[in-house]
């Protein structure tokens, strides 16, 4: 069995498909068998799901934030655009 430490590093890196199959397969068997790594894996996956969902909301433009272009920046950009066109 490969060591938990190797599995944890690969999980944190979160790019399983960059690994060759002969490293990926033992890793996934390990995750199935080891409670510890299984939980770490599920946390990384849950976080990843959050990132994906965030990107979908970003795409739809429906995330409400307090970040806006300031009036000063708008004015500056407008002036720069006038010069450009």
């Amino acid at each position: 069995m490969i060591a938990c430490k190797q599995v944890a590093k690969a999980l944190a890196n979160h790019r399983y498909y960059e690994l060759p199959w002969w490293r990926r397969i033992p890793m996934f068997i390990h995750i199935k068998l080891c409670v510890m790594c299984g939980e770490y894996h599920s946390q990384v996956v849950t976080m990843q799901k959050g990132m994906r969902d965030y990107l979908e909301h970003e795409e739809a433009g429906d995330v409400e934030t307090h970040i806006h272009l300031s009036e000063k920046a708008k004015q500056r950009i407008q002036d720069a655009m006038k010069k450009e066109s």
């Binding site: 060591a3 890196n13 960059e18 080891c34 510890m36 990132m51 969902d53 970040i67 920046a73 655009m81």
Partner: protein, 188 residues
């Protein structure tokens, strides 16, 4: 009429300014840099308008330009990320991985139900705030990996990071993001 004929650069700031600002800010975590990136995007958009085919909405076309500006900025701003040799060891110890694969303790569980939170509209505002508060030393790599989908090789090359240390930086970012969410998200 297609998207190209319908668009007028004079309306860009009002119609897309805030959207692009939010897109840039969460990736750069710096107001001045984000505003500059948006400005450069609009200027580049005016120059490139002839080459815009009008098939995608203008917002997404501009966002495509902005994405390049953002990455350029990250590239320029990146300093060598210090990863202490002992940090990786400490993380592994904190996860209580034991030799021979026998665990004695589990990673700390979520203090809220993420699956439920992901379905709440208000959650994303908190998520956005927490993403914006990551420190550069972890935020840059995390942004390139999770928001831009870069490979290990690309990230390490651009951020001058040892491939062997990327996992430490990503773990750092996830841990900080998780505790920020736990501190700021109140399940309704």
């Amino acid at each position: 009429m297609n998207n190209k004929e319908l668009t007028n650069p004079e309306d860009w700031i009002a119609e897309h300014g805030d959207y692009l600002m939010q897109f840039a800010f969460v990736r750069l975590r710096n107001r001045a840099a984000a505003e500059d990136a948006v400005q450069e995007t609009f200027l580049a958009g005016i120059k490139a308008l002839d080459r815009y085919d009008g098939k995608t909405p203008v917002r997404y076309w501009l966002r495509g330009i902005l994405r390049h500006k953002v990455v350029d900025y990250i590239r320029k701003a990146s300093r060598e990320i210090a990863v202490d040799e002992t940090e990786g060891k400490e993380i592994l110890d904190s996860l209580k991985f034991k030799a021979f694969g026998i665990p004695t303790q589990h990673p700390p569980e979520w203090k809220f139900d993420p699956e439920f939170a992901y379905k709440q509209k208000e959650f994303w505002e908190v998520f956005y705030g927490c993403m914006s508060h990551l420190k550069d030393s972890m935020g840059q790599a995390f942004t390139l990996r999770e928001l831009e989908g870069w490979s290990t090789e690309e990230i390490c090359k651009e951020l001058k990071l040892k491939p062997n240390n990327l996992w430490v930086v990503l773990h750092r970012a996830r841990t900080q993001l998780k505790s920020c969410l736990e501190a700021n998200w109140i399940t309704p």
